[in-house]
Each structure stands twice: as structure tokens, then as C-alpha cells.
């Protein structure tokens, strides 16, 4: 029984993250439009965009190399694998031990590495500007993320997300260090997903754009892959915050179908709440200058470091 159900659940998780990611994007756009008193596109618009892009032909620049053509698929696959490793509705799925939280961050790092290279492949100035700034942001966001990992790992005694979530479910207590880590994780998530105030996902032809500058030369199915990867990454971060800081409802291994159904419903609820909070934050803040962003991310790094130091001083903080 377990031999069939467990891989099936893993498969459900893998395809659920893929299927839900555009919906989350559509939902945030809709909420954002409503918050700005606009009607906004329908929630299913991202799916339509993706399908349309996939059907269109690809226009490649004359000097695009093999790296430019393969990068979108690699970026997509690396992001997808990373997202499939984050518990969404259940913990301890059969492949959850393939990578821990550090590996998930590093997988996203691999995706970013290829995206930045792809931005430099055509040899245009916009591509270079995007890659250069993306790597600057990453060089601050990644250590901040590692510090967050240290904090939660020292609290829970594990970097394995399933064990972490199970620990957090059982040991509910307010800790200073976890609060600091949560704040840092939100900052990192905003920066990593190219949201306001770090970057504007709706922008185009703007000197401050970062993510859009790197994918400027992409079209057709390649662009669809990159957009899907970006959507999956947003879902990944929301799931990650939910799994570490609000892990309630995650189904334990071997529990009945009702537990899985509850887990799935709660997960959808968490996604909706996360998307709503993100929009609330985005609409209440203005975009930053590029060289203010290092200070913003440096705050996350310092919060993470402070949380870790507190835990090294005493495990009860």
C-alpha cells in the first residue's frame, strides 16, 4: 500500500507546485489590481499567457549560443526540483531526503547562475546590467538565507525541511531568534522574487529593472519556461515560509486521506494568505534605488546573523 501511495503523493506534490504556481501569480496580480482600484486581468491569465508563449515561435538573436537555448530548461528544471523538495501539504514524502534546505537554496543558486549567464549571452547592455545587479543582490541574499537556515536548524536540530516542519508543529513557542529569522526570510523572499521594493515584475524598459533585463532577449517557449520558473520560485518561497513558520496542518507520513485533504486545503489557504500579505506589502511601499537594495538585504543578513548568534549564546532564545 505504502509502496504505491507514497510515490503517488510525491508525484502529486511535484505536479501541484507546477499547476498552482501560475494561479498564485494570477491571484497576486488580481489582488494587487483590486487594491489599486483597478479591475485587473482574470486570475487564469498567467495560464493563457504561458500557453500562448509556448505556441509562438522563438526569435533568437543571431549570435545566441547553445547556452542561451538550453538555459531556460535548466533554470526551469532546477527551480522545479527545488520546489518539489519543499513540503507543501505533507511531510516526509519519499524523496524529501534528496536535499535539505541548504541544497534547495543552492539549487536556486544554480538556476540564478544560468539566468545571469543567459543575460550575458547576446552581448547587449541591458542583459549585462541585469546579470550584474542580480549577482550583487544574490551575494547578499544568499548569506542571509544561510543564516536563516542556521537559525532554524539550531532550533530544530535539523536542516531537513520535513523534520524541521514536524519539530515546529510539536514545539510551539515564541522565540526571539525565530522572529528575527522570519523577518529576514521575508526580506530575502521579496528580493529573490524580484518584487517591489527591490525590483518591479511589471516593469519593462526601465533602467532599474533587474530580472526583466536578463530575460529581455527571450521569446516564445523559452520565455514561457522562464516565466513558469519565476512563478514556481514565488510559490516555493511562500511554501517555505509556510512550512517553517506556520507548519500546522501538514500531513504526517502514514496518516489517512482526511489528513491529506485537510493538509491540501490548509496549504491553499496559506498560499492565499501569503499572496495577500505580499500584495499588501508591495502596494504600501515604493521601489528603491538600486544601491539602497544592498542596505535592505544587509538588514536581512544582520537579522539572520543576530538570530544565529543569540542561539549560539543560549539555545533558549
Amino acid at each position: 500500500m505504502d509502496l504505491i501511495v507514497a510515490p503517488l503523493l510525491q508525484g502529486v506534490q511535484m505536479f501541484a507546485v507546477l499547476a498552482l504556481a501560475p494561479l498564485l501569480l494570477g491571484y497576486t496580480r488580481k489582488v494587487k489590481a483590486r487594491a489599486l482600484r483597478r479591475a485587473g486581468p482574470p486570475m487564469l491569465q498567467p495560464y493563457r499567457d504561458l500557453l500562448r508563449l509556448m505556441r509562438k515561435e522563438v526569435v533568437l538573436a543571431h549570435n545566441a549560443s547553445w547556452l542561451f537555448r538550453t538555459a531556460p530548461y535548466m533554470i526551469f528544471a532546477a527551480t522545479w526540483v527545488a520546489a518539489a523538495l519543499v513540503p507543501t501539504f505533507a511531510t516526509a514524502l519519499p524523496f524529501s531526503w534528496v536535499g535539505d534546505l541548504i541544497a534547495i537554496i543552492a539549487l536556486l543558486g544554480s538556476a540564478r547562475f544560468f539566468l545571469a549567464l543567459a543575460g550575458m549571452d547576446i552581448g547587449t547592455s541591458f542583459g549585462g546590467i541585469g546579470s550584474s545587479r542580480e549577482m550583487l543582490f544574490a551575494s547578499l541574499a544568499e548569506p542571509a538565507m544561510i543564516m536563516i537556515v542556521f537559525t532554524v536548524a539550531l532550533v530544530a536540530g535539523s536542516t531537513q525541511l520535513s523534520s524541521l516542519a514536524a519539530f515546529m508543529q510539536d514545539n510551539v513557542d515564541l522565540r526571539v531568534s525565530l522572529g528575527l529569522a522570519a523577518a529576514a526570510l521575508v526580506i530575502v523572499a521579496i528580493a529573490e522574487n524580484a518584487r517591489i521594493p527591490v525590483d518591479n515584475p511589471a516593469t519593462h524598459l526601465e533602467l532599474t529593472m533587474v530580472h526583466e533585463a536578463m530575460v529581455l532577449e527571450y521569446s516564445g517557449r523559452h520565455l514561457a519556461m522562464l516565466e513558469l520558473a519565476a512563478a514556481v520560485k514565488l510559490l516555493l518561497y511562500v511554501s517555505l515560509i509556510a512550512c517553517i513558520f506556520v507548519p500546522w496542518g501538514l500531513a504526517a507520513p502514514g496518516s489517512g486521506p482526511t489528513a491529506y485533504a485537510t493538509g491540501a486545503m490548509l496549504y491553499l489557504g496559506k498560499l492565499l494568505a501569503g499572496g495577500f500579505l505580499l500584495v499588501l506589502f508591495e502596494t504600501s511601499i515604493a521601489k528603491m534605488r538600486v544601491f539602497r537594495v544592498p542596505q535592505f538585504l544587509g538588514a536581512a543578513l544582520m537579522l539572520g546573523l543576530l538570530a544565529t548568534l543569540l542561539l549560539f549564546v543560549s539555545r533558549s532564545f
Binding site: S65, L67, G128, S132, M145, F150, S158, E217
Partner: protein, 668 residues
């Protein structure tokens, strides 16, 4: 008897060195020399691998009848030296194979051929030596032969300066090691390592600091790294690969041999000292690398960074050992040794790749390269693999050793010492910072060199490297992938080494299902490189297949879009300097006192606008410039000692003798 095979290999290399200095400098002679080096390296490699896979093989010793008359030359093969023999000869075989192809020295083979086999042989001998005298002799041969190789292109004054600074630092380092061995021998009464081990050391702290200076100056530990980014790029590329990928590892071997094996139980502050230096080395190395636009110098600075990562693992291992925690010490030591192997693989690969670029274009300066991925696709592929590996990206090998280091850091709250408790997380942040900056640096290195449009005629006319050089690079790239997807096998290979040094080992990994690695317990952390690799490959293949089958596979070529304003000139692209500009602005103003000056002419003035950037190296200015000035002043002062009369000299000798006798009589 593997030690015998290794010794025969060394003898063949030494014989080749002698023969090469007599042979004609013809093309076949060059190929033959490197071919023999390759075979000798592969032979020693096989012997070392065989020894490591034998379970609990006893150390093999050999005594040769030369060296100090009352000691002779002792050689010994144990697990530690077998592992480092593996590293040395893996790099040596790769570099030799590369040199058989067109990547070998194009100019002045007569300056390279005799010294190259000598260099490889002396590195093997350092690892095999079992007494202080043979160790130092081999170490000096290693320094001098590599110095001669740095001076191959001696017409360039920069290379002469690099070689001068290198030989100064190398002599200084050997002096420190000489004193370290003297101190060790004073405590035990003999120069063989067996006697040193059995004796009781006096003042092990002095020995540790001397070993740290001696080995650290060779390895490139900050602040003793200044020669490294000058000397490593100056040598021919396959020698640079050996110096960066292998010789620094021999230095690490020297440190491990003294600190973990010969010098007795560690004190708590040794770990603190090492961890602090390692953290600074990591960050300063990678930041300096980011500021470079010379491809080989960038790689050399990255060697400094990676030496920092290795020393961080070693420092953690010492800290854990000194507090009686053998299991975490074994984890940290495994991480460090695994990174030794990994760095040897990818740094050799990257230097060979830069050598292929240099051979194809004659350029080391990235600002004159670009677009090479079209003309050198296979070199670009191999170089990209190396870039991913050194940036610690899964599923390649660099990630595994950094992951293990992070796992070791996460065990450090068990340490009772407060200094370590506060220090380790901060250094962990520095390690994470340097990993992220390394990724930025290699996006820059690969992106500017291989991607975009060619920035010079040489880059436009480059041709792919020859098949033999490519074989060397692709083989190393394959090893990087294998070590990344099968880390459990490497960790088990390291187990006897770690067991011998820290008294514990990591749990066996190769028997775990799916070849995962689990450093402590499965509920704590696990990683499976093989499945990550397979999932990424499968995920991208599924995506390609589904889209091509059900959506579209049409491709049209057109001009670049660039928001409608593409500029035809390749100089409109981002350059290496402009790529690093944001990072320079954020970090460089502190680390390098970077100053940007914009000279903007007034309207109507037809001067060109200029942006100039000045970077200064604070370490050089604070430590080395005053030191050099002090030595110059002292030399000036002592100069008149050379012009004394014979009477004065005799009285000087007499006073010195009396003084020394007084010291001895008061001391005892």
C-alpha cells in the same frame, strides 16, 4: 608494495628531468617528455588508489641510504600521504595530458621541460617524506623548480618581479618550516617522523605557528598570499594549473602532517586562530578575484579563497578535537579533505581552460575576449563545468564539500568555548558570503570570456583547442561531476585518512540507499547528488519533449532586441569591470579603499570624459611596504660591517663566542 611503485614513479620523473635537459627541443621530444610524466603520474595514482582502497592497510616505510648520514632518507606511505599522492598525481596527469597537446608551452620549451618533471617529482616526494630533512629538501626542490617555471617568460618585467617576490616568500616559508622541524626534533631527539611522534614536544604552540607561517605562505593564507596572484598566472598555463591546483595542496599536506600528526594534542586556541584567518582569507580572496580582469589572476585569487575554505574545515576539526569531540572533528576534517580533492579537480580544469583560451587567442585579459563559446564550444563546456563546481552549485562537487563544511559549523554549538561559540557563526556567514560572491565572480569570468560578442580580432579568430588538450579538460570535468553525484564513495575513500588523524570517521556512506550522504543522522540532514542530477536532467528533458511535441519547435533568427536600441559596437557590452562595479561599490570601498573619480568636461570642452578607479591593497601597504622599508634601512645600517679590518672581525667573532657561551651557561 605501493610505496615502491610510487618511488619508481618519482625516479622515472627525475630521470626524465635529467634527460629533458639534454634532449633536443623538438616537438616529439616535448610530447615524449610529457607523455612519460603522464604515465608516471598515472602509475603513482594507481598505486595510491590501490593503497587507499585496501581496508586498514598498515603504513609502508622505506629507508634510502642518502640524506643526513646518521638518519638516511625515510619514506612512508600511510593513508594521509596516499590521499595526497592521489591529489598530486590526478592534477599532474591532467596537466601533463594537456601539455602533450597544443596547450603546451609554445615558446622556450627548453626552459620548461627540465623543470616540469622535477616539479612533479618533488611534490610527490614531499608527500612521501618521513623525516624532516627529506621533507625540507623535497619542499625546497618544489619551490625552486616552480620558481624556475614562473621565470619562463622572463622578458616581461612583471614576471621577474613576480618570481622575485615568490622566491622571497618561499624562502621565508621554508625558514619557518626549518625552525618548526628543529623545534620538533629538539623535543624528541631525532628528525624522523617516527621519533618526533614518540617524543614529547616542547612548546607545541611555537611549532604550530611556525608551521602555519611555513605552510600558509605556500598555500596562500592571508596575509601571506601576496606572491600567489603574481606568480601563479606568470607560469605557462599547465604549470599554473599545477601550482594552483596541486602545490597549494602539498602545502596543506605539510600543515596537516605537522598540526594533526606530529605536534601532539591541540590546544583550544589553535582552532580559533585558524578559523579567523580562514574567514578573512575566504572573503578577501574572492573580493580580490572580483576586481580582476586578467583571467588567470582571477583564478589565482580564487585559489586563495578556496584555501580559506579548506583551512576553515581544518580549524573546525582542531577546535572539535581539542574539546574531545572526535565525531564532529571527523566531519570537519572530511569536509576539508574533500575540498582539497575538489579544488584540485576544478582549479586544474579552470587553469587548463584559461590556457586553451590563451593558446587560441594570445589573450589573458578578459576585456579583449568574448563570444568564445561559438568558436570553442567544447572548451566552453568544460570551463562552464569548472565554473559551476567552484561556485558550489549542485549537482557538482564543490557544493558537496561546502555543504559538509556547513554541517560541521552547525555542530559547533556543542563546543564549550565562548570564543568559538561567537566566532563560528560569524565565519559561517563569511563562508556563505564568499560562496555567493564566487558565483558572481564566475558569472563574470565565463560571461565576459565566452559569452557575448568578441571584443577583439584575436577573439573573433579563435579556434577550438586540439583533441588532446580537450580530452584533459573534459576528463577533469567528468571527475568534477562524478565527485559531485557520488560523494558517498569519496567520503568512504577518505575514511581511513580521517580515522588516522582524528580518531573517528564519518559513518559509512556508500552502503546507504540511492548513494545519499548522511553526515550525522538522517533526521538531521542528507543530500543525494545523484538524484538531484537525475531529477534536473529528467525535468529539463520532459519540459523540452512536452513543449516540442505539443506546442511549438519553430525557431527564427533575427537581430538582437535590446529594447529596440541595440548598439552595433561590441564595446557597448558589459565588461568585466562594469560587471563588478556594483560589488566594488558595496564591498570595495572598505576592502580596497576603492575610489572612483569622474572627470566630466564642461559643455563646449571637447576633452573626453574619464572615469578612473583606484584600488589599493591595504594589506600590502600596512604589512609589506613597511617591512620592505625596514629591511632596507637595516641592510643600510649593517652595510658597514662589510668594511671592517681583520682585527675588528676577529674581535667580533670572539665577542659572539663569549656571548653564546654565556647564554648556554646561564640557560642550563
Amino acid at each position: 608494495m605501493q610505496v615502491g611503485i610510487a618511488l619508481w614513479g618519482v625516479a622515472v620523473l627525475l630521470g626524465t628531468a635529467v634527460a629533458a635537459s639534454l634532449l633536443q627541443r623538438s616537438r616529439p621530444a616535448t610530447a615524449l617528455t610529457y607523455g612519460i610524466c603522464l604515465v608516471a603520474c598515472l602509475g603513482i595514482l594507481a598505486a595510491a588508489c590501490h593503497y587507499l582502497t585496501l581496508s586498514a592497510a598498515p603504513p609502508q616505510t622505506l629507508r634510502l641510504p642518502f640524506g643526513l648520514p646518521w638518519t638516511g632518507a625515510h619514506l612512508r606511505l600511510d593513508a594521509l600521504s596516499a590521499f595526497f599522492l592521489l591529489v598530486v598525481n590526478l592534477g599532474g596527469a591532467g596537466a601533463s595530458l594537456f601539455a602533450i597537446g597544443r596547450g603546451g608551452p609554445a615558446t622556450a620549451p627548453g626552459r620548461v621541460l627540465p623543470f616540469y618533471p622535477l616539479f612533479v617529482a618533488s611534490m610527490n616526494l614531499v608527500v612521501l617524506a618521513d623525516d624532516g630533512f627529506s621533507f625540507l629538501l623535497a619542499w625546497e626542490f618544489m619551490s625552486v623548480s616552480s620558481w624556475a617555471l614562473v621565470l619562463v617568460h622572463h622578458h616581461d618585467p612583471n614576471n621577474r618581479r613576480a618570481a622575485y617576490i615568490y622566491i622571497l616568500m618561499a624562502s621565508f616559508g621554508t625558514l619557518a618550516l626549518l625552525l618548526a622541524f628543529g623545534w620538533l626534533a629538539a623535543g624528541s631527539g631525532g628528525y624522523t617522523f617516527a621519533e618526533i611522534r614518540s617524543g614529547s614536544g616542547t612548546l607545541p604552540a611555537v611549532v604550530l605557528i611556525l608551521a602555519l607561517i611555513g605552510a600558509g605562505s605556500k598555500a596562500g593564507l592571508v596575509p601571506l598570499h601576496v606572491w600567489l596572484p603574481l606568480a601563479h598566472p606568470a607560469a605557462p598555463s599547465h604549470v599554473s594549473a599545477l601550482m594552483s591546483g596541486v602545490m597549494t595542496k602539498v602545502a596543506i599536506y605539510g600543515f596537516i602532517r605537522i598540526a594533526f600528526d606530529l605536534n601532539g594534542p591541540p590546544a583550544w586556541w589553535w582552532g580559533v586562530l585558524l578559523i579567523v584567518l580562514a574567514g578573512i582569507t575566504c572573503v578577501l580572496g574572492v573580493l580580490s578575484a572580483l576586481m580582476q580582469h586578467d583571467l588567470k589572476r582571477l583564478l589565482a585569487y580564487h585559489t586563495v579563497e578556496n584555501i580559506g575554505i579548506i583551512f576553515l574545515g581544518l580549524g573546525l576539526a582542531l577546535a572539535f578535537s581539542s574539546h574531545g569531540l572526535p565525531a564532529p572533528a571527523a566531519l570537519a576534517l572530511t569536509a576539508a579533505l574533500f575540498h582539497v580533492l575538489n579544488h584540485c579537480l576544478f582549479k586544474t580544469l579552470l587553469f587548463l581552460g584559461s590556457g586553451a583560451v590563451l593558446a587560441a587567442t594570445g589573450e589573458r585579459d578578459m576585456e579583449h575576449l568574448g563570444g568564445l563559446i561559438h568558436r570553442m564550444p567544447l572548451t566552453a563546456f568544460a570551463f562552464l563545468t569548472g565554473c559551476m563546481a567552484i561556485s558550489a552549485l549542485p549537482p557538482l562537487n564543490g557544493f558537496v564539500s561546502e555543504w559538509l563544511t556547513f554541517q560541521a559549523i552547525l555542530l559547533s554549538p556543542e563546543l564549550p568555548s565562548w570564543a568559538l561559540k561567537l566566532l563560528v557563526p560569524a565565519v559561517g556567514a563569511m563562508l556563505a558570503l564568499s560562496a555567493a560572491l564566487a558565483a558572481a565572480c564566475f558569472v563574470k569570468a565565463f560571461g565576459v570570456t565566452f559569452l557575448g560578442r568578441p571584443r577583439s580580432l584575436a577573439a573573433e579568430r579563435a579556434t577550438e583547442a586540439d583533441p588532446i588538450s580537450l580530452a584533459a579538460m573534459l576528463a577533469l570535468a567528468l571527475f568534477c561531476l562524478l565527485a559531485g553525484v557520488l560523494p558517498g564513495l569519496c567520503i568512504d575513500l577518505l575514511a581511513p585518512v580521517v580515522l588516522g588523524l582524528s580518531g573517528a570517521r564519518m559513518p559509512p556512506q556508500s552502503t546507504l540507499p540511492w548513494l545519499s550522504i548522511v553526515p550525522v543522522a538522517e533526521s538531521r540532514s542528507s543530500y543525494n547528488g545523484l538524484l538531484v542530477f537525475l531529477f534536473i536532467v529528467a525535468g529539463s528533458l520532459i519540459a523540452v519533449d512536452v513543449i516540442h511535441r505539443f506546442a511549438s519547435r519553430a525557431v527564427r533568427r533575427g537581430p538582437a532586441w535590446d529594447c529596440g536600441f541595440p548598439l552595433a559596437s561590441p564595446s557597448a557590452q558589459y565588461t568585466a569591470d562594469s560587471f563588478a562595479q556594483p560589488i566594488r561599490r558595496v564591498f570595495g570601498s572598505v576592502a580596497f579603499l576603492a575610489r572612483e573619480r569622474v572627470d566630466m568636461p564642461l559643455p563646449g570642452d571637447r576633452r573626453r570624459a574619464r572615469l578612473s578607479v583606484t584600488l589599493r591593497d591595504p594589506l600590502w601597504e600596512v604589512i609589506y611596504v613597511p617591512l620592505a622599508a625596514g629591511i632596507a634601512v637595516a641592510a643600510e645600517r649593517f652595510n658597514h660591517l662589510q668594511f671592517l679590518t681583520i682585527r675588528q672581525y676577529l674581535s667580533l667573532v670572539f665577542i659572539a663566542l663569549i656571548g653564546l657561551l654565556l647564554v648556554v651557561s646561564i640557560w642550563t
